[in-house]
Symmetry: C2
Subunit: 320 residues, 2 copies
Amino acid sequence: MIDLAAGIDIGGTNTVFGLVDAQGRIHGSGTIKTSSFKDVEEFVSALYNNISEEALRKGNVRLTGFGIGAPMGNINKGSIEHAAGLPWKGIIHLADIFRKHTALPVIVTNDANAAAIGEMVFGDAKAMTDFIVITLGTGLGSGIVVNGRLVYGHDGFAGELGHTSAGHGFADRECGCGKMGCLETYVSATGLKRTLIHLLADDLQQCSLRNVSFNDLTSEMIYNAATEGDKIAMEAFRLTGNVLGASLADFVAVTSPEAIFLFGGVARAGKMLFDPVRESMEMNLLNIYRGKVKLLPSGLEAGNAAVLGAGSLVWSGNLV
Amino acid sequence: MIDLAAGIDIGGTNTVFGLVDAQGRIHGSGTIKTSSFKDVEEFVSALYNNISEEALRKGNVRLTGFGIGAPMGNINKGSIEHAAGLPWKGIIHLADIFRKHTALPVIVTNDANAAAIGEMVFGDAKAMTDFIVITLGTGLGSGIVVNGRLVYGHDGFAGELGHTSAGHGFADRECGCGKMGCLETYVSATGLKRTLIHLLADDLQQCSLRNVSFNDLTSEMIYNAATEGDKIAMEAFRLTGNVLGASLADFVAVTSPEAIFLFGGVARAGKMLFDPVRESMEMNLLNIYRGKVKLLPSGLEAGNAAVLGAGSLVWSGNLV
C-alpha cells in the first residue's frame, strides 16, 4: 500500500493532476479540460472521478488528500475568488465542493504559493527558511516564505508581486487589473511580447518576427529568435531582465531572502534571462544585501512542477 | 521586588534608556550623550553604569535584560553595522561588549523593528499577526510582522523599505545610500523638507518659509506653517502622503497586512499626513486589498515609544 496525494493544477484551459508520493515521485496523472465546464460542481465531480479512477487503476494506493493550485486561490477560505482566466465567476468555494465527495484534507492556494511549498518540500529550498518564488507565465505570480512559513497575510492574498509598480521609467503599460505600470506588464510571457512589439516599432534593425502579428506572437518564438542571434529578440530579454532585476532589489529590501527562484515558461530561457536579472538586481540592491542573494532556477522537474507544487501542499506538514 | 527591562534607544546625538515593566510602564529613565563617546567600550560602560545606578536608586528592582534599538542593529549577531549616524565605524559587536558587564539577555535590533515589537507587546497590534510599522524620522525605517513574527530575513537585515524605489515619477532624488529615488528621499523628515524646498523653487505662492535656509528648515516648521494654512507647506504634506500611499499599496501586495502603523516625528502631523496617505494607498491598491488595510498611528505613548519598543524586546517571549 502506497500513500499518494493528488496534486491538482487548475489552469484556464486545462486542469492537470498527478498522484504524488512523499518523495515527490509521480505515480499516474491525467488532464481534464477546464474550459468545457460551465458549472464548477460538474467540474469537481469529473475531476474527483478521474483522480479516483487513476488511483484505482494503479492499485494498492491510499489517497492522503487533495492539494490544489489555482489562480486567486485562497488558503484561508479554500476558495477561488474572481479568477479572470477561469470559466466560473465570483467567489467559488472550491474546497467545500470537493468535501461533498471526500472527507480527506483539501488544500487550495494560488499556483505561485504551491510552487513555493513545492520548492521547500521536494525542490531546492529544502534547507531554506527565507526565499521567494517568482512564476513567469501569462502573468507574474509569487510565493514568499519567511521564517520557514509561507506568507499569506491577513486575508490569504499576500504575494501579488506582479501588481507592484515596475521600476522608475516603466509606468506606461496598462495592466489587466486596471492599474498602470504593474510589474507583470513588463515581466511575464505577455510582458516579453509587449516589449518585443514595442522594440519593433522603435528600432529599425532586422528581426525575424516582423511578419508575426501581436496575437500570434508567443514567448517561445521570441526565445527561439533570440537563440538564433536575433538582436531585437535578445534585446527584449535583456530589457525584461533589467526590469525584473530592479524590482527584485526592492523585494529583497522587504524580506531579505536567501534565494529567489525563477519558475515557469519564461524562466526556462536560462542565461538569456538570468544574466540581465542578476546584473540589474545587484546594481539596484542596497549595499548591505549585495552579493548575498542567490538567483536560482526551480529545483522541481520542469514538466511536472505545478503538479508537484500542488501535491506538496498535502505533504507539507505545518509549513503551509 | 519588581522585574524591569532596560529599554535603550541609541541615536546619533543621545542615547535614552528607561526601566520598563511587563505592562509597559516606565520606572525611571536617563540619557547619555552618544556623540561624546569616541570609544564604544567606554560608551557601553557609561551606559551600563547609568542603568545600574538608576535601578539601584529605585530600589527593590530586579533587572531582566537589555533591549537595544539602534540604527543598523542586527538581531542575529547582536551588532551594529556601518551605521552612518553613529560615532563608531564598521561592525560593532554591541551585545558582546555588553556581556562583559552582565550575564542577562542582551537583544539588539534596529529601531523600527523595536517599534514593531513594542506595538505587539505594549501597543495597538496586540491581537495582530500581520502588520507593518513605518517609522518617519530623519529617514524611513520599517518593521514587518508576518505570521506573528518579525521578519528578519536570511541575514537579519530585512525591512529596509526606505530604500525601495519611490513610485512612478519620483526618481530624481539622490539618496545617502548611493541610489536614486529611494522612498526615504521623499518620505521622512528630510524628504518633507526637500519637497518643501522644491515647491519654493517651482511655485510662486506666498509661503512663510521663504526666509528659512535649507539647513535651518525642520519638519516641525513645515508642520507649524501648514497648520496656519500656509498653502505650500500643506502641499508638501500632501505630496509626501501621496508618495507614501503609493508605496504602501505595493507593500500591501507583498505581505497583505491587517494594518500599517505610522510612527515617529512626521507621523504626529496626524490628519495632514494620514488623509493623503490613505487616499493614495486606496487608489493604488490592487482591487482585492481595497478597504481592508487599516492605517493607524502608533499605540505607544509618544515621548516614550522608542524606549518602550526597545524594552519590549526583553518582554517579547518568542516573538522576536
